[in-house]
């Protein structure tokens, strides 16, 4: 067992070394790099190396760039893909996708996958595109489902696994049935589609009365993880629809608000774990799934940490989906009284039709979609936490294919202590004990980056990009970039020199809500740029 876990760590480190090869830094979604040239003692000397303006500023730059063999690939909100020399920012090629339609989930793009000489892109009008990584020329495109019909599109980064690229889909707040689709990386040909809501005669279909399965949500709008040794693809599935209205869908509503583990060769379900049966709070479980091997009760376990909108981190055995533990990472939570040692929700507070119910965390989530980081060196899981509540009220609504299907409303409210706040916090993932936290001026909406230099990087809406000591949260370095941060910072090396790159430029739906939540704070600045830092070169 120990040998295998060591091997897993070694493989993950090799992947992270030099390159930032996948959306989460490795298939295990660690957002951690083993590069340590920049560390706690020299990070204060970090200085800008280059910057690049994409020119596509609507909804900011939310992507996590990919770096492979000295080339950086980044995607913008409308679906432009740009390849840059990662050492100096020189443009290699640019591909501009022009979406014909847009779903209500907007023009937002959180990244590409790069594999087998191809760059894989999901688009705002629900197409998948394969681009030649050398030339930037489009090789293929596939209409996954007409966006005018489904009201859905692609905002998340695909995940390339072996010969296929796996794409998620939005649509969780619409009358839509979610899915994952796997296409051949070289040709774009269809391999499989996994519907997150079982159809007639499939297991789990009985958890949906009548026709409710046809429009029950279950979107897959963020990016999954992969364990090559177990050959399992993990993906988080979003809320059930109508989000707040439960009367049309009495039952557990599988596999919404769940983790699913699929065989990536066939798309067949191997196991599932439903975190929130019969979700009525819009508690998407779509966020990143962090894979790590740690001892639990003296025995090494293959774990999966899953921190979701519901304000809890679930610990599962990723080989079989067994529930191990769930711990609360937000301070304010009243949607359930708690979660038992067996994983059952107790003391549920379900919204009712026409009656307001004060619920924490809010539908914005105890954490937004910006991703956590896990450092195997410190053994800490770093989360961007949001403390907010909402008044939920269910309303009668009949679903109409592809149209918004929320079945109620929510009004964001401060927690009982009076203040909506955001902070970064470091947790022991096994116990949930909080080691340190850093309050934001407003909140933290960019993904986190941990490194073997014991550093934690991220940016804030106010424009600062900064480094903390990952062990104690002490701020070691900060740089005013001039734009709000909502993307994913990365680190990589070219010719032995380590770089730290951050996207910047404010955007996203939650971003548009910033001023309503923090009316006295300055507006985060829009834009769409990359800013890249390094230590001064020897001799300078």
């Amino acid at each position: 067992m120990r040998t295998w876990s060591c091997l897993f760590v070694v493989v993950a480190n090799l992947l992270a070394q030099a390159d930032w090869g996948t959306h989460g830094g490795n298939y295990a979604a660690w957002r951690y790099s083993s590069l340590a040239q920049i560390h706690t003692s020299n990070v204060g000397r970090l200085t800008p190396a280059w910057s690049f303006q994409t020119g596509d500023i609507e909804h900011g730059l939310q992507a996590t760039p990919i770096v492979q063999r000295g080339v950086m690939y980044v995607s913008t909100s409308q679906g432009w893909v740009i390849a840059l020399n990662a050492a100096d920012g020189r443009l290699i090629w640019e591909y501009r996708y022009a979406p014909e339609n847009t779903a209500v989930y907007g023009k937002q793009n959180r990244g590409v996958a790069v594999s087998q000489g191809m760059v894989l892109l999901g688009t705002a009008d629900n197409h998948a595109v394969g681009i030649d990584a050398q030339t930037g020329k489009e090789k293929w495109r596939v209409n996954m489902e007409d966006t005018r019909q489904c009201g859905c599109n692609i905002t998340g980064a695909p995940l390339a696994v072996k010969d296929v690229a796996v794409f998620g889909v939005t649509g969780g707040d619409s009358a839509h049935r979610g899915y994952l689709t796997a296409l051949n990386i070289r040709t774009g040909r269809f391999h499989w589609r996994f519907y997150t809501i079982p159809g007639p005669e499939e297991n789990g279909h009985e958890t949906w009365p009548g026709d409710s399965w046809r429009h029950g949500g279950g979107s897959t709008w963020m990016t999954g993880s992969y364990d090559a040794e177990l050959n399992l693809l993990y993906w988080g599935v979003g809320n059930a629809a109508g989000d707040i209205l439960s009367k049309n869908r009495r039952g557990d509503n599988l596999y919404t608000a769940s983790v699913v583990a699929l065989n990536p060769d066939t798309g067949k379900l191997v196991w599932h774990y439903q975190e929130v049966p019969h979700d009525v709070w819009d508690y998407d479980s779509v966020y990143e799934l962090v894979l790590a091997d740690l001892p639990v009760a003296g025995k090494m376990r293959k774990l999966l940490f899953h921190s979701t909108k519901a304000g809890y981190t679930w610990l599962l055995d990723r080989s079989n989906g067994e529930f191990i533990k769930a711990w609360q990472f937000v301070k304010h939570s009243n949607w359930v009284a708690g979660i038992t040692e067996g994983g059952k929700l107790v003391g549920r507070r379900d919204p009712e039709i026409g009656k307001g119910l004060f619920v924490c965390p809010s539908a914005m989530g105890g954490k937004s979609w910006n991703e956590s980081a896990w450092s195997p060196r410190t053994g800490l899981l770093y989360l961007p936490v949001v403390e907010a509540c909402n008044d939920l009220m269910a309303r009668e609504q009949e679903p109409q294919e592809g149209q918004i299907y929320i079945g109620g409303s929510w009004i964001i409210k401060p927690p009982p202590d009076g203040k909506i706040e955001g902070y970064l916090a470091a947790f022991d993932p096994l116990t949930g004990s909080r080691k340190w936290s850093l309050p934001g001026k407003t909140w933290f909406m960019a993904s986190l980056l941990a490194t073997a230099g014991d550093l934690l990087f991220t940016g804030d809406p106010e424009g600062n990009f900064f480094a903390l000591d990952a062990r104690d949260g002490k701020k070691l370095w900060s740089f005013q970039t001039g734009g709000g941060h909502r993307g994913g910072a990365i680190t990589y090396a070219v010719n032995g020199r380590q770089y730290v790159a951050t996207p910047l430029g404010w955007g996203s739906f939650l971003g548009m809500f910033h001023l309503s939540i923090f009316p006295d704070a300055p507006a985060p600045r829009a834009g769409s740029a990359l800013m890249v830092f390094a230590l001064p070169e020897v001799g300078q």
């Binding site: 014909e100 339609n101 847009t102 779903a103 209500v104 989930y105 907007g106 489009e138 090789k139 293929w140 495109r141 596939v142 209409n143 996954m144 489902e145 007409d146 005018r148 019909q149 489904c150 707040d173 839509h176 049935r177 296409l183 040709t187 774009g188 040909r189 269809f190 589609r193 159809g199 046809r214 026409g354 539908a363 914005m364 009220m393 309303r395 009668e396 609504q397 009949e398 109409q400 294919e401 592809g402 149209q403 918004i404 299907y405 929320i406 109620g408 409303s409 929510w410 009004i411 964001i412 739906f509 939650l510 548009m512 809500f513 001023l515 309503s516 009316p519 704070a521 300055p522 507006a523």
Partner: protein, 241 residues
Amino acid sequence: MKSFVLFAVTAAAIAQDGAALFRARCAVPYCHGQAGSAGRAPKLIGHTYNSSAVFSIVSGGLPAKGMPGFDRDLTAEEIEAVTRYVMTFAGAGPRKNEWGISSRTQLTPELERSRNLFFDAARMNGCGRCHEVDGWGSKVGPDLSRSASWNLRGGSGKGVVTARIGAETFPALVLEPGSVTRLWDLGSRLPVLRTVAGADLQTDAASRWDHAAETRAYSDAELQLIRPFLQWARKQQPDAR
């Protein structure tokens, strides 16, 4: 914040109350966004409104669109204030439909069933995967609203060739032949629009591609039920009237 303050200052005093109500109830992230700039619900800026229609929509909602009614939460005076605030948006931005969503043509229940079968999401969007009709679907195969009769099982197979690229052989519809060729690869359950070097491509006019295999998710009876929707779509064409 600055533009928002300026905006409120230029509006009537009553609209300021409406602005506060709007900010709390309508500007939430899934709905109309800051000062009507659009969240997941449509952008309100830049449209011309009828104030009585706005009042009734804010009061009673648009259940089919997911817009809640606020008559239980707000007093009539408060709804009036929100209405006045929304009316101040007219002309403040580009006049276009932010989301580009075409609203569906209202059909009789029988035609509705027929249309639903044509685009059935439970069959991976059925015929809509390859045929665009009345604003939904993909333009891979022929425009069925241009025909007067349909061989729904057999199809026409017109233009489908056998394409060869290296070791690959697949049925294809060639769109733009040339040094760079665009073609539909029909050897995939979701058609793939591929771009290939003309020099790498060989085509053979004979093809074993079979529309009957593509339509096997439908029974003969179901295909007959699809026919009324196509007849209706045909009648919508100017030359058919």
